[in-house]
Symmetry: C2
Subunit: 143 residues, 2 copies
DNA sequence: AGTTTCTGTAACATCCTTTGTTACAGGAGG
DNA sequence: CCTCCTGTAACAAAGGATGTTACAGAAACT
């Protein structure tokens, strides 16, 4: 399918939380985050909800409530974000079971499975090299 | 979106062509490939059409027609297949432009762009390590 | 040349995912 | 207890992937 923007939204939200924290604003509401990402607050709550379940952010209820990083931005890597928000594997297998009478049809799925696993690990390893603090640094360099 | 199965279908077709060639059958029709993949022949023609445009397979028309590998299976790597069939980038950017008044909204897209590029390169590098001949070998090992 | 066989592609249906939106119950500070 | 904001359900809209039918066109073989 078309590439989704979940990782982008989650990283944007985290970078914004990191910057706000640095500026002394300890909490941001989903409305405030949505205003920067330019989307609906529910989208942000869904995304930050995933990150909360992964232990990357925490939330406070009641008046003056909002979201904040659960740990320093240096210690949140993009692979953790990726794992938190991305459910589907990178490459899909056949929609309907291939023909098991054919030697290729019979053996292709386990073979592709381990190849795809390796590719996904390579991707995750690369994402692990970058932290939210790195993203924020590069983001602010542009302006 | 949901992970698509384009790479899977294309690699399956190529592995099947490689095996058929080894068995002395120099051409396979889209019907024959579709029977192994268990899908509609048009899906196969679309996929093999992409691979033909990338120079990986060639096609013969007329009676006794069909598809064959344009080069040895050892010399077709999965990254070439990936590039041939996958159009969208791995990670999507924001659907609607982020708020450029916000420092994060302003700088996040170029920052993410280069990070995503690096991740995609790592993925492609890993896919480049495996050839269709490797896939066929692993596929036949299972049965 | 004509016939046959299979490709190439348009057109359309269906299904599923993503994103956006409204609405509202519920939790937790003050 | 009140208020503010989260958490989530429910639904709509839009887009992509896959499957299907149909048919024009290319090329081998006679």
């Amino acid at each position: 399918m078309a590439a989704n923007s979940r990782l982008t939204v989650a990283v944007h939200a985290l970078a914004w939380l990191a910057l706000a924290q640095r500026q002394g604003r300890d909490q941001l509401t989903s409305d405030q985050v949505a205003a920067s990402v330019n989307t609906n607050p529910v989208i942000i709550r869904r995304s930050l909800g995933d990150l909360r379940r992964a232990g990357l952010v925490s939330v406070r209820h009641g008046p003056g409530a909002g979201w904040s990083l659960a740990r320093p931005a240096e210690e949140i890597s993009l692979v953790q974000v990726y794992d938190a928000v991305e459910r589907d594997p990178l490459f899909g297998m056949h929609r309907s079971e291939p023909n098991l009478e054919c030697p290729v049809g019979k053996g292709i799925r386990p073979a592709l499975g381990s190849i795809y696993d390796g590719a996904e690990q390579a991707l995750r390893r690369e994402l692990g090299r970058t932290s939210i603090a790195d993203v924020l640094r590069q983001t602010l360099q542009v302006s």
